[in-house]
Symmetry: C2
Subunit: 330 residues, 2 copies
């Protein structure tokens, strides 16, 4: 099953279009141009819109209707884009979704300010769809932002630390990536007014899906299709990133292999010409298989979580999505 060869992919596409309508109209006629043009620029980038879809299917799965939550769905996408803008400054990245990053297209100050404004715009959007339990909904959203900031801070810490355990890495990717997916799912449930038991199920789905997503992202850096994935293969190795693959390899490597791995840490990255060597090392140590197993493990946990949800179509969409993400190549 692939991301776009199933009847549910039609639902996904049509719902995401509705969210895009909001994203495209939200900033029209706002001034000053120096602030809103950059904000529009990042929102126009073609992302997967995975997070808004999580809000929508989660609301659906507990009996809500898609149409009531497009603003909230747009809100999480805006929030996600804020993280991209500021992360790209911190990582000094040039490209994002095949286009110049915001701070390269404009400048760092503009990107800082656009990111700040996106946070507030996200809250503005969220409030439009929050009728009851507003305090709960806003609290969930806010908690998600704090987790993302903590995760990004850990990620920066790990860049300069020599030793990072796989357990620490998982905490980091939980906070940096999975917590936001979890937030989207809880948000959808809360907006639709679900039970506490359902919140737990949605939380577990989002969290495990997010973990699978990030490890898949790490894996795609080695086995992905450059064209589809939108970035050069082996970038994580070149940048010296301590990914799941790398940390798992450190656990399993002995003597010579260990030396090769530690070289990457010491030199804070490798040359492009060395990527093939590292890929072969990963294969030799069984790392790619381990990563696939780990992704399957989290995906199974995600799928298992949704069995108790009351709306079958929502439930099926969530199962489809989890499987589709495993098979993605971008």
């Amino acid at each position: 099953m692939k991301f776009d060869d199933h009847k549910y992919s039609g639902v996904y596409k049509s719902q995401i279009q509705k969210v895009d309508v909001i994203l495209n109209s939200l900033l029209k006629n706002r001034k000053p141009k120096s602030l809103y043009e950059p904000c529009s620029y990042i929102l126009e980038g073609k992302g997967k819109r995975l997070r808004p879809f999580l809000v929508l299917v989660s609301a659906k799965s507990v009996g809500g209707s898609f149409a009531k939550y497009y603003n909230a769905a747009a809100a999480v996408e805006i929030l996600h884009n804020f993280t991209l803008v500021h992360d790209d400054i911190m990582d000094n990245s040039d490209k994002r979704r095949g286009r110049l990053t915001l701070h390269k297209k404009y400048d760092v100050n503009t990107a800082i300010l656009a990111g700040d404004n996106l946070i507030a715009l996200a809250y503005e959007c969220l409030l439009k769809d929050s009728k009851k339990n507003v305090s709960q909904v806003v609290s969930t959203f806010t908690h998600g932002i704090i987790e993302v900031c903590e995760g990004q801070s850990l990620d920066k810490d790990f860049e300069v630390r020599d030793k990072v355990s796989l357990a620490e890495y998982k905490v980091m990717i939980y906070k940096k990536t999975a917590a936001l997916a979890e937030m989207c799912c809880i948000l959808g449930g809360q907006l639709a007014g679900c039970t506490k038991k359902e919140i737990n199920a949605l939380s577990s789905y989002g969290k495990n899906l997010g973990m699978a997503f990030q490890i898949q992202d790490d894996l795609l850096d080695i086995i992905g299709d450059e064209q589809e994935f939108g970035k050069k293969i082996g970038s994580d190795l070149i940048e010296g990133k301590k990914t799941y693959l790398f940390l798992r390899a450190l656990q399993k490597a002995k003597s010579t292999d260990m030396g090769i791995l530690q070289k990457m840490v010491k030199q804070k990255g490798i040359e492009r010409s060395e990527i093939e060597n590292y890929k072969n090392l990963y294969i030799r140590l069984g790392i790619l298989k381990d990563a696939k197993k780990e992704i399957e493990h989290y995906t199974k946990l995600a799928i298992k979580s949704v069995t108790s949800l009351r709306n079958k179509e929502g439930q099926q969409l969530m199962i489809w999505l989890a499987n589709a993400l495993i098979n993605r190549n971008k």
Copy 2:
């Protein structure tokens, strides 16, 4: 009447201490240290805590009690500190409140992330004191952030523009400074559950107080006490800032004087040795008097706004505050 020679200054000090207790305990035991140490660093700086006091007196003036709104008061101070952290990066400022700015103490990436996290922490604090009309309260808060971002963007635009009118300048300082003071007052009123008429009175008070505050800030750059004001006299001129004083001078200057003023624009600032010349020019053109009149004008409007508010102590505190701010030297 000065800031600290009146019975109301005792109320101010004691209430601000309660807010500081919250600010000091909020981040205890949070991890990672790499994120929360910088957040604590900026909150520990000794600010006037003017904005939290606005929340408290506004709530008081419509019949609320101080004690119920310390978290909301802390929230606006946290939000204000976020703006300081990110503005200081954009302005490349070295010092703030007599200490190193956050990005100089740590680094730019840390400061970006700490600022982001402060926004979320501010919402977290705000929610603690929001029981009813949460949607309204969060919307007011969010709108305040958007205004500040728009104001900061205009401020950056004006830096590189040759011509800025006094009217445009007022729009900018409204958004960058006065809108946040206005937001604090509206917030206090909404939290205490006041009437629409009272919201209008509080809005007018905050807005006009904010305008007076910013023009006073511009004035203090020329006539302030360096020790008290916490920054070098004439900094705005050295940095080539188009302040109220400068733009008013442009309106009134003729021939030679006009040439001197335009030199500052062309050269994007002046030398320290030239400050005295510009000060004398301002005096010759009657600019300092004009600024004082303008400050008095906004202060009178602020004071006039509060006459209809139901609680006399709150009202008196607001009048005291407006007068005290006129007489401040920092």
